[in-house]
């Protein structure tokens, strides 16, 4: 009894001491974070309005009929994707675009991935050499094309060496000047290629990379690999992720793009100029946040060489991907993302606060350091401290409430504003029920989800600092609207 109250006394002192130090800074941190997010959202909203108005004179028919516009190579790395690969490739071939090819890189699949493709497209082996513009780790086994010799599909088989290396092989095999990386289970809107090449078409000399928002797909009605109806998923875990994606990925990144300092492009759908990819050396197979790392490398390369360039974000909802449905998989994903974030930021630490690197170095990187990397620390520790302090009587009610307001209330407000912008520009969720569910999800996010993801992110960071080897996650795949799950061991990056 004595020991217990003694322990409590000591704890109270410790917490009290810490709180005296950090009470106000913590509040300020959250106010600043959310306000900055609001600013980014403002920029994004402006951008959306602009894009929306452009539609009335965009002339997509002309673009599709274009004779001289640049072609696109769609690179699809595939490991054990037998369930979805055929539907996916068929849908990709049918995309509305003037000129594109599909390159599937079979990363040593052990299931029927290749057989499915061979059957569906009547593939025959050809003696086509894959150039070595980029260094790749393992050799190509063989190359197949459809028997008619005209369908623009190329299937390259190689031994298993991971997604990044496979993408590099795909880049080597690509013949068009623009290359896009797509996960095998991503769904694209019919005009996706038109949308994502628009920045390149408008400014061919400067734009080197574009990124596209990816929305969670787990429960949309998909027919033949094309989105037919956007339905909201049933599990609350997925619903919360939908909300999170809206706020963080779509609007956050749009804002950065408008500001001219976009440093992160979703791995599920990014388009790059092939020559630039070759210049910088393609994806780094050893990096965990490989999409982030690639974009940073491009920024550094272009700035060092004093090139006038742009990296842009396309805000239209044109791509969907599966998100984790179980806590276990979500945990692994978040932990891995944060680890990738840390390692890449650390690798390019020389660029941060370096005036030589313009907006990327002076604004974007410091922001990512202060508000993305460190955020989970403050979120988690702050929450623990306040909860503990409140329980111990160190922290009074109004402080506790203030903390909630600033950390969670303000964040919910930012989320709601994100939804306003989304509703006004894209309004993809038709049913009232879905809208209500989303609103509820944005509230629920603060009750456990945010704390949990903060903890998992810290886990990832700690694992990296300890030098633990990274573990590639598995994701149970639902497939396209059919209920037979398939286990895939492909790292998921969004």
């Amino acid at each position: 009894m004595m020991i217990w109250s003694g322990f409590l006394e000591a704890l109270r002192d410790v917490v009290s001491a810490i709180m005296n130090l950090v009470a106000t800074p913590v509040l300020i941190y959250f106010v600043v974070t959310n306000t900055l997010l609001l600013v980014l959202m403002g920029l994004a909203g402006w951008e959306f309005v602009r894009q929306h108005r452009r539609k009335s004179y965009a002339g997509s028919e002309q673009t599709v009929a274009s004779q001289l516009g640049q072609g696109v190579s769609v690179v699809v790395p595939a490991y054990n994707e037998a369930v979805v690969i055929v539907t996916s490739v068929q849908a990709l071939l049918a995309l509305r675009f003037a000129r594109h090819e599909i390159i599937v890189v079979d990363d040593g699949s052990t299931d029927a991935t290749f057989d499915q493709l061979r059957c569906a497209f009547d593939l025959v082996p050809v003696q086509r050499e894959v150039p070595s513009d980029l260094l790749t780790r393992l050799n190509v086994i063989d190359v197949h094309v459809p028997r008619d010799g005209r369908t623009r599909l190329v299937v390259v088989r190689k031994e298993n060496s991971g997604k990044s290396d496979s993408i590099n092989v795909g880049i080597n095999a690509a013949v068009e000047p623009l290359v896009v990386f797509i996960d095998a289970d991503s769904i694209l809107a019919p005009d996706a290629l038109i949308s994502v090449t628009k920045p390149f078409a408008d400014d061919p000399t400067r734009v080197v990379a574009t990124g596209v928002v990816v929305r969670p797909i787990n429960w949309c009605k998909v027919v033949d690999g094309r989105m037919v109806e956007v339905k909201l998923a049933k599990p609350w875990l997925v619903r919360i992720q939908v909300v999170e994606y809206l706020r963080a990925f779509m609007l956050g990144r749009s804002g950065w793009s408008r500001f001219g300092a976009l440093i992160l492009i979703s791995g599920a759908f990014g388009m790059f100029r092939r020559d630039v990819l070759v210049e910088v050396g393609g994806l780094d197979p050893d990096s965990i946040g490989e999409d982030f790392e690639l974009v940073m490398r491009i920024h550094r390369h272009m700035i060092k060489n004093r090139r006038d360039y742009r990296v842009q974000f396309v805000a239209e909802p044109v791509s969907w991907a599966e998100v984790p449905m179980t806590v276990k998989v979500l945990r692994r994903q978040r932990s891995r993302w944060h680890r990738g974030l840390w390692e890449t930021l650390w690798k390019y630490r020389g660029m941060a606060l370096n005036p030589r690197y313009g907006r990327v170095g002076l604004v974007a990187l410091p922001y990512y350091w202060a508000f993305e990397l460190v955020a989970p620390v403050l979120e988690f520790v702050g929450f623990v401290l306040v909860a503990l302090g409140f329980a111990l009587g160190v922290v009074n009610t109004s402080y506790a409430l203030m903390f909630m307001a600033v950390a969670y209330g303000y964040s919910t407000l930012v989320t709601l504003i994100a939804m306003v912008i989304d509703e006004l520009s894209f309004h993809k969720y038709r049913r009232w029920r879905d809208l209500g569910a989303i609103l509820l999800a944005s509230l629920l996010e603060n009750v456990g989800y945010r704390q949990a993801t903060a903890w998992w992110r810290l886990e990832g960071w700690w694992a990296s600092l300890r030098g633990k080897k990274p573990v590639w996650g598995t994701m149970t795949r639902r497939g396209f609207g059919d209920d037979s799950p398939a286990v895939a061991a492909l790292s998921r990056h969004v």
């Binding site: 028919e61 009929a65 004779q67 049918a94 008619d148 005209r150 019919p190 690999g225």
Partner: protein, 129 residues
Amino acid sequence: MTEPVKTRILVADDDVDILDLVVFKLTQAGFETVAVTDGMAALAAIEADPPRLAILDIMMPGLSGLDVLRKVRANDAMSDLDVILLTARARDTDVDTGFATGASDYVIKPFSPRELLHRVNAVLARDDR
């Protein structure tokens, strides 16, 4: 007095405007039409009840018009179906591919509905001979 049997034509295009337009034109000209908006439905319709002629858009959801054409030509029961491709893909290589895959004709968008009708009649007459 029996009515003459109308020639049935399948039209597949995911663009509802084009679909309505072509269907209307053909109906006015005395054809019976079946309209679908994607490749899978087109293939299913052809397999279920083969039409006399099919007008296919190339860039459609799921299965492209070229894929449908290929599957039709590969299937002995349907391989003599006349197919006209109606598409925005206008490059020489696309036209080559269209004909090489087995199209009876290739019409580029933007198109003249009247010209399309002439071509439909021409393709039908060619085969009737």
